[in-house]
Each structure stands twice: as C-alpha cells, then as structure tokens.
Symmetry: D2
Subunit: 277 residues, 4 copies
C-alpha cells in the first residue's frame, strides 16, 4: 500500500530524522521525500511517499508522538479523490476533464457536474455523469448558492473544481469548503483580476497571456496559486482571438493543478502554496 504523509511544523533540528525514523521502525520504504523550510517564519513542510504494510492509525500515532506537539500531521492513502465540477457554458475545461476521466487519467471520480445553465448537459450526459442545472436567474447570490450547496453536499466531495464557473462566490460559500475549491482564472494573476481578462489584456497590449489555477479564498482571484502557464500573442490577436487561444492554456493549467492537488502535493502557508512535485 502506498501512503502520503504531510507534516507541517515550526522548524527545528531533527524533524526529518524523527519522521523518517518512524518510517524505519515500521519498515516503510521511502519512495520520495521533499522538504521545505519557509525562511522568514522558519516553518517546516514535508511530504513523503512510502510503501509498506503498517496501518494508517499506527503511523499517524507514532508520528504525533515523536514530532513536536505543534506539528500538523496528515496521512493519506494514495487513491482517486471524489470531486464535483461546477461550470457555466464553456466546454473546453470541462470537456478536457471528462476525456481524462473517461481514459482513467484524472486520478479522481467525477461524482457530478453542477452548472447555472443547461448548455453543457448533453456533453456531460454522454459520459453518464449526473448533470444538475441550478439556474441563478431571479435569485440573490446567497439564495442561488444555497441551492447549489444542496446539490453539492450529498455527494460529499473532497474537492470542488470550478471549470469556468463564471459567477463570483460569496464568502459564505467559500467558507463552507475551505481549501477544497480549485478555480481556473483566464489570466496570469495578479494581472487582469476580475471580468473579461482577455479584453483587459488586449487593451494593455501585452505580448503574453496566460491562465492561473488557484485555491479559492474570500478575496476575488487572490487565493493561493497552484499553477500558471502562459502563451505568446501578437498585435494581430483580437481579444476574441486571445480568448480562443487561451482555452488550451486554461485547460492544461487546470489539469496540471488538479494533478498536483489530487496527488496531495499542494500544501498551503498563508496565501502561498508549497508544491512538492
């Protein structure tokens, strides 16, 4: 059995030694380990992948026992995550995830897709995945989100993927799924926050556009960044051309970020991610 161990603690001499000592005592073989010490606040982060027979409880208990009290320890069995996808009308990110899921390459089970329009229903249902439309017309943001949450929660998803879900989420909604909402934004943040980033990019006359996948926090487009990719453009790209060209970067950036999240490679410290690739 393959397990992932994540440790976070105030830095101290011996943290790697003590952690790998537990692995040694339980005869767990290390497949890979990565450490990082945030230099400003001297905070230690570690991810290890181990193979062996010991059970999760024993492993967790031993780690907690030997590591300093303030250490945060997480032990995960390597397995596909359960997710729900939210979308609006655009098919490129969702379609890409559906194809990866179909081919067994997503490392996740798509439990359902929830959208605020009917547009994507035929595409989703081709893949025999439940599609629910929760229209937002005539509803306040909070009322609409209450309905959405009623659809999400029975799935008990570990992550909710915003695959071009084009509505701003309320702090209440975000608070309900802390560090579990993964978004794709169609600019290389922090450039072009908010609506219509390709139009903003065109107006500014940039020569590079991009996409950013991030965890969602209260602050619009300001959550911890997981992955960013860019694409050169020229004066001959209209805002619409940029949007067309940007689709490929968006879908690849989202898929890249999800791979990292689903393999428990993303740790968060304040507003920054530590990514153990």
């Amino acid at each position: 059995m393959r397990r992932i161990i994540l440790v976070e603690a105030p830095d101290a001499v011996g943290l790697v030694y003590k952690t790998t000592g537990v692995f040694f005592d339980l005869a767990l073989n290390i497949v890979s380990t990565d450490e990082f010490v945030e230099p400003k606040e001297k905070r230690f982060f570690m991810r290890a992948e181990v193979v062996g027979e010991a059970d999760n409880q024993t492993l967790t208990d031993l780690l907690k026992q030997r590591l300093p009290e303030e250490a945060v320890v997480r032990v995960e069995t390597k397995r596909p995550k359960n997710i729900v996808i939210m979308a609006t009308k655009e098919s490129h990110c969702l379609g890409d995830l559906l194809i990866r899921h179909y081919a067994g390459e997503l490392n996740a089970n798509i439990l359902g897709v929830i959208a605020n329009h009917e547009t994507l229903r035929p595409l989703v249902e081709k893949f025999e995945i439940p599609f629910t439309c929760v229209p937002h017309e005539g509803l306040s943001r909070l009322d609409h989100e209450a309905l959405v949450r009623k659809e999400i929660d029975p799935y008990e998803p570990e992550y909710i993927v915003l695959a071009k879900y084009m509505r701003v989420l309320s702090p209440e909604f975000v608070a309900a799924y802390p560090r579990r909402l993964v978004n794709i934004h169609h600019s290389f943040l922090p450039a072009f926050i908010g609506a219509n980033p390709y139009r903003q990019a065109w107006q500014r006359g940039v020569k590079v556009i991009g996409a950013t996948s991030h965890l969602v926090t209260d602050d619009l487009d300001a959550g911890p960044i997981i992955a960013q990719q860019v694409l050169p453009v020229t004066h001959s790209h209209s805002a619409r051309d940029m949007a067309m060209a940007g689709r490929d970067v968006e879908k690849i950036t989202l898929a890249t970020a999800l791979k990292l999240v689903f393999e428990d490679r993303v740790m968060v410290h304040k507003n920054r991610t530590i990514i153990f690739e």
Copy 2:
C-alpha cells in the same frame, strides 16, 4: 541598398497595391512586406523591406503622391542606430549590451552611457565607451534630469535605452524623447507595477515571473509593450532568488526588444505596438 518603408493610414481598398506599385515603378525588389489592419478603427499599418537603387527622396515623394493624403510615410535606410544607454548600478543588462556591441551584434552604436552612480564606470570604460555619472543626490528630479539631458543631447541619439535605470522619469523628460525611450521593467506588466516587483511577486506566490520591455510614456510602466518573456518559479524561490533568476529574462527581453526597434519593426497605435517580425 536596403530600405525600410513604414506606412500608416486609414484603411482603404488598394493601399498595398498602390504602395507596391511605387516599388514596381522604381524597380525595387521586395524582400519582405507585412501589413496589419487594426479592426476597431480600420487603421492600416505596413512595413516593407526593399532592395534597389532609387533614392530616398524620390521614393518618399512617389509614395506620398499616390497614397491618400492622411497616410504617414517613413523611409529608412537600413543601418545601425545611434543610442545612449542610461543605467544605475546593476550590470546584467548593460553588460549584455556591451558584449553584443563589442561583437557587432547590437545593430546600434553606443555613443555613451549615463548613470546616476559611479558603480558601472569601470565596466563601461573597459569597452572604451564614454561613461558619465550624473549623481542625483541633493537635486530635485527636474534639476537632475536637466543635467542628464545636457549630457544626452550633444550625442543626438536616436534612441535612449534604460538598461535598469532605477529612477522614475518626469513627464517633461519623457516628452523630450517621444517614442525614443526604451525601458526594461522587471515584471510581466501589468502585474507588479512600480517598485520591487520581485518582492510583490513573492508575496503573491506566483509560479511565473517575467520581464517587459516597453516604450516609455508619462504613465509609469504603462507605455506600449514591445516584448515580454517569462520564467517559471517555485515556492523555494525567495524574492532575492527571483531577482537573481530574473536577470537573464530581463537582459534577453531588453535585447529582443532593441533588435525589433533598431530594425524599424515597431509601429505604435495609441498604447499598443504593432510588431512586424
């Protein structure tokens, strides 16, 4: 003799036909032509490189005669531009330009280097290029700039290259050299305008940093962008590491932009560049 012809005009049927008709009549052979029509305002831009014997005046006159009255026509003989470089203390961009100049690859004559510190004097003088230090201590911005201009103007440079010149320029200074000031900014604008962009980038936790070369206008870091390049970074890059890594992107981006400018490949429409590569 090789010449570059730049034409800008309100779009109309026959502009390419009329322009190339002049070349045909003067037996000028086209090496390359590029056109672009700005679709919003229907504005036509064209760059042609031609080889042949006709003189510049005849060529210009014929083009003005046949093209619509509103057309702006520029005829340039292909040759190295005369430039002055401004710098502060950092050597990576300036050093890169000095090496290219030394190897005959800059497509420009560096007439002199002007800095507000003495730091770079030994480097510049190795290459037998005049170095002038105009310290800014104890001077108002305008008084300092007046002294700088006194040093620049006798050189009669066609372009002034800001190779990590770390002082903000006044609108008066900018107005004195319209579309002739080329700057390198150490972020992929419009992200991280202003001071200390690498610290800003670190704080935001971006996964991509970059550099932007642009023409300078009154508005800080908001001038028409010529070239942008990026570089991936990780959580393990401190702001200082980003600055170190960013140096290579800065120097290459500046050199790329200068190549385009010195070969008359950059046209400007409002705040956007048209680049004919």
Copy 3:
C-alpha cells in the same frame, strides 16, 4: 464572402503588385497578406485573405492571366474542411479533437473515425460520429491498407488526420493522399524517430521532450513539419511518466497544426513548410 488566395512562383519584381492589383480591380478588400521569398531558390510564396463579391472563377482567371505562367494559384473559400480521423487505442488526441468538434472549434467536419482496434468505438459513438474498425491481424500491410482505403474513400475527405495511429503507412498509401495526411509524432523530430520515442528520450537522459505534427511522406517521420512543442522533464520522470506528460503536448501540437492546415496557412516547398500565421 471571405476567400484565401495562395500563390507560388519563381520570384520576380512585381508579384505582390500584380496580385493585389487583381484584388483592387475586383474591389476585394484585403484582410491580411503574407509573403515569403525562399532565398536559396528565389521562390515566392504568398497568402492573402480577401473579402468581397467577385466569384472564384473570375478571381482565379484574372490572377493566372496577370501572373507569370509558372505561377501556381489556389483560391479557397473559407469554410470547414471535411476530414477523416485514423486512430489506434489512445484517446487523448482523438478525445481532444472530438471535444473541439463538438464545441464548433475544429474548423472541420469529422466525417468518420477509422481504427485498427475496437477500443475507441464507445468514445467516438458518444459523439454520434461513425466509427469503423479495420483490424490488421492476419493481414499484410498492403491488404490491411486496401481495406482502410475502402473505408476512407467514400467519405471523400480533404484531409486524413492520424491521431495516434500507431502503424507505419506504406508508400502506396501515402501516395494516395499527397499532402493530405497530417500526423502527430511523440517526439521533437528529428530526435527519436520511430518506435517508443519516450523510452529513447529516457535512455538519452534529455531534459526536454516534445511532439511534432507533420505532413506524411514516404520517409518515416521525415515529412514537412507543421508544428512542434516541447515540455521540460527531469531525472524523476520515467519513460512512462514522460509518455503521460507528453500526452498534453501531443494533443495541443496536433490541434495547433490542424488549425493551420484547415485555415490554408500551410504551404510546402520541398521538405519544409511555409506557415502564414
């Protein structure tokens, strides 16, 4: 109506002038033009997009009349191309094309998919596109290809896209569809020609892998290259990891090449492409 005009000829003074003269006389407005003169053999290539009412025949006739006799002229109405896709078992390239087609972004009509295995049938049939399996077991290459051609030809496709079709094609097959076969090869050619390029890449210890989309000629993996993209890898990538990571580059590179082909932006001179973007 929007039309694309492609001209190829021995270089001579006045070719652009004469071509755009025809547009002028027919009151066709130029949306864009691009020219290239191959400097070794002085061969002229031009692509123009024009808008206006004249019919294709008149346009073609006038161009042939005014241009030198040796000129090759092609006039295309801008419209989706009719294509057939060939595949084997892998779904990433095919799936990506199916999603683009579904979203109306492929600029082509997929008339059918032909594979040498049944694996991909369920995926293709989700999208209501005819799927034909032509198994190759027990057949000689030529016999198998004869059966494949019987399936292809009734569709009368303009292009045949090899979306990870994993069998080598005979010169006879290639000759039947000159410049109409577009392939994706999973390496940055000419590195790692032939079978198992990711294993070859792993063995060589490269730090960059890539994909190449090219027109198919008799010579295995040696046809004119349309598009290439790359991806950094590290020592920690096994050959299998490279193959996984490479899928995204493969599908994006193929889609990029097809966009160029379907918009008539690819001209061929000997074994090299001229791409008018």
Copy 4:
C-alpha cells in the same frame, strides 16, 4: 558554515534516516534535502545542504560509519569553484560568463581562458583574466591537446568549461578530466549531433531549435545532459538567422548548467544526470 553532502548507494530502508541521524547528532540544521531512487536499478541518490559547526572530517567519517559500505559519500564546503574556460572565436558564451564573473554572479573563479585562436584575447584581457592562445594549425589532435593540457594543468581547475570550443576532443583528453568538462552544444541533443547543427535544423525544417549543456564523455555529444532549452523558429529563419537567434539560448543554457554544477547539484548515473534543484 554551509556544507553540501552527496550520498549515492544501493537503495535500502533507512538511508535517509541514517543520514539525517548523523546531522542530528552533530547538531547540523538541514537547509534542504533531496532524494531520488533510480527505479530500475534501485540506486539511491541524496543531496543535503546543512548549516552548523562540525568539521568535514567528522561528518564524513560518521556518515561512512553508519551508511552501508557500498555508499559513496562526498562532503563539500559551499564555495566558488576554480575553473578554466576554453573557447575558439565566438564571444557570446564567453562574454556572458565574463560579465557574470565580473558581477560576482558566476559562483566560480575564472583562472584563465585558453583558445585555439587569438580572436578573443582583447575581450578576455579587458577583464584582467589570463588569456592563452594555443594554435592548432600544423599539429595533430593529440599534439595540440598535449599543449593545451600543459596550459590547463598548472591552474589545477575543478572544472573546464567549453564555451563554444569548436574542436572535437580526443578520448585521452576527456579521460584526463572525468566529469569535469562541461560543454555547450548548439542543438537540442540528440537532434543534430556534430557539425553545423543550425544548417541541419534548417534543412529539416524544424519549428524549434535549442541548446544542450552536457558533461563530456568519449562519445561525441553523447555525454550526460545537464540542461536544455529551446526557441521557436519559423520558415523565415535562414540557417544563419537560427545561429544568431540561438546564441542567446546557448549562453543562457550554459550558464544554467554551470550554476547547477558549481552548486554541486548534479549527480551522474551512467549516462544520465540527477539534478537536485
């Protein structure tokens, strides 16, 4: 004091634990550690950076004592390496290294430059670095190399950097400096091995060119690769244009590789590098 510890051994349970146990016992604080297990041959590689007071000998002895007998242990104090540069006529790589050295950014002391032509003498001597020309005219390869080695060896360099040294080295020469010769080759190997890679690239019509920095072995251009970078090109690039454009990639790739080598981040297993960034 900051030290770098490199460990290589047949994989076994407890290697990280035992290594970090030594650090713990000597009160050395880990700044970073990286491990890799080559999965085919189960070979373990580790790099650690530690801070603390223990002396190198004690550290080395303890590691050897506790790790399996077959383990290879290397302890390095973090400090600039002593190097000699070899070149021919081209200035872009050498000039870039001279500027970095001048700015204190190379992490190495350039003890001298040896070339087979006089061309680069003025450039090198500007920086007050000894330049020696060892002309090869009229000499056999081995005789010439014997003279070169007579110039190199008194410097006792840790690494020899081939900054566009355009002569093939004999196996004897290579054997004299095992894993200490770093070369820059002007193609993304293994494409375009040998002479005139840009011409080869032009002939093949590639859309991407690149550069490769590698350790030199007997086999021409086949040594372990340290770094590779690429650059898009188009049909309009002649072989000469590619060579011009390629210079920037060459110099940046070489500098990138040298940074890794000089910080003891490169381990070698057979013909592949393990790079701990």
